[in-house]
Symmetry: C2
Subunit: 319 residues, 2 copies
């Protein structure tokens, strides 16, 4: 420990003092509260209903796969496998993005084909390689469960409120509570200089200097925009499938880097297992930078400091 | 409410006073603490490790199916489908038994092929229609995760403690905490006469008088023994597959009735959807009794009063 302290002091003389101002200009801490759209107020009852739906396997045709199967709370609301598995364990083309802090993104899905969490929520339910259900089928199943009917009535009111639109709204409301504030880096930004070590501070500085923040910007480290970056093994047309614009071929939405130390493997196709390797690849492909081993390690230390406080999640008991 | 109260008073005059003594003789409340074997002490650290393993999909060959996939906390640690689904969504032959209160049973699985929770735990991991993994493969995967290695060392000590035996012990220890005491019927047995209504009290009495308690006996309503009872659609040889004794053909272990109102569908093959229908079938096939509609309703009211307090379950965050 003594050796470590001495190194830390030396490093802090070299790096920390001059870096702090630059770091605090380049970054912003994550809010504990997500933006809430005017047409989907956040009430505790709606969040609870959304949580029930999120964990309910009856939203799939098999009654066996729920949103939480792939957006698994045990793995920071991801699945830790390269590409998503779904109905009959068929494999999709893309890595499951975490739901954590997705409420701060301006577009959803790797290819941005949904603008909102509400729009996103109904996608995987219907995708044949995911939950493989029709919305009619899901609505009919839920309507056969009196406790759900009652909850939809309580939350949304009106006549016959158990609709796909309200299913989506409830799930989105729940997802807006899946925020991970107070990571070590957030605490550092708020003034706790001990919250991250010298390597992570150096990494934060390098991350900005090298240009990573061109795309990985804002409190969730994503510009919610699309970029074409060559990643190992990917032939996926990405954003092009949505826009049919030539310039969008192989373009993908910048992923959030919040909790990135928990959401391996990486890239749109989950082809890269480690943060270390990911940092090297992105530096080379996106920024034409060959980072030194020390630089990579510092940036990884910084990225590891973005792991926030996971929402404490008790299981709903489903009717 | 007034009408109801009047009925309750009349019923209580007719039934409750004379029944109470008989009921309290026939039944016993569920303990909040399960029996703990001498060779697997229950420590908080072991329970936490077992919980992590129980929820970890890496115990399957696909990295996608955990114990909790079928023993799903949202469905009282069952899956609410007729027969278990597993690897590649292939369907097994039997309905998933709840893990809740399994610690009180003297044999595990529908056919009793495991004597203990420890022995049971390794079965589904290796079954090709369930988690489809080899124990060597699982041990190798877990050993590659330093946080697991550290936890096994902390919990079990010794040299190289990350073994199948210790995986089983940790999971079994966690399962011994999955107890649901304080159901309305337990509270009734302990003296709270308002805890269940007159119909449920009548049902409790009928359940004993008709002979259901011959097999559904003890605090978990199971004799942990095997019985041949014809259920719709089942051709399964059951216990015979374990013993090869002719008398065991189509015999199955008496299932617990604790939380039975949450663990539909019913029977070894999940062929019956409602408690009402199940009660009728069992009375006819096991006891040669044709129950009246009123009797069935009373017994169902009693069975519904066996829903206990679910263990509050927060998700583990896996390394």
């Amino acid at each position: 420990m003594r050796g470590r302290s001495a190194v830390a002091i030396v490093l802090s003389l070299v790096f920390v003092v001059p870096l702090t101002a630059a770091i605090s200009q380049a970054y912003e801490p994550l809010s504990a509260i997500a933006p809430i759209p005017a047409d989907n107020s956040l009430t505790p009852e709606k969040v609870e209903l959304g949580k029930m739906l999120f964990f309910d396997p009856r939203l799939s045709s098999s009654d066996w796969i729920s949103c939480a199967t792939c957006h698994n709370p045990v793995f920071a609301f991801g699945d830790r496998i390269p590409r998503a598995l779904g109905h009959k364990m068929s494999e999709g083309h893309r890595n499951t993005p975490t739901v954590l802090n997705a409420a701060f993104l301006d577009v959803q899905f790797w290819d941005g084909r949904a603008a909102t969490l509400e729009e996103q929520a109904l996608g995987p339910i219907q995708a044949d390689v995911e939950m493989n259900a029709s919305l009619d089928e899901v609505v009919a199943k839920l309507k056969a469960i009196p406790a759900y009917v009652k909850r939809f009535e309580g939350v949304f009111g009106g006549n016959d409120p158990l609709t796909p639109e309200h299913i989506a709204k409830a799930i989105a409301a729940f997802e807006r509570t899946l925020i991970t504030p107070n990571s070590p880096f957030d605490r550092y930004l708020r003034g706790d200089k001990q919250a991250i070590n010298a390597a992570a501070q150096k990494g934060a500085s390098l991350f900005d200097e090298k240009g990573c923040t061109n795309c990985h910007t804002g409190a969730v480290f994503s510009d919610s925009d699309f970029h074409t970056i060559k990643v190992p093994g990917s032939t996926d047309l990405g954003r092009y499938n949505v826009t049919k614009a030539e310039s969008d071929k192989h373009a993908f939405r910048t992923p959030t880097l919040r909790n990135v130390a928990l959401t391996q493997p990486y890239m749109n196709n989950g082809s890269v297992n480690t943060l270390n390797e990911s940092v090297k690849i992105m530096a080379k492909e996106a920024l034409e930078e060959e980072l030194s081993a020390e630089e990579v390690e510092a940036i990884v230390a910084f990225l590891e400091s973005l792991t926030g406080v996971m929402p404490e999640m008790t299981y709903p008991i489903l009717p």
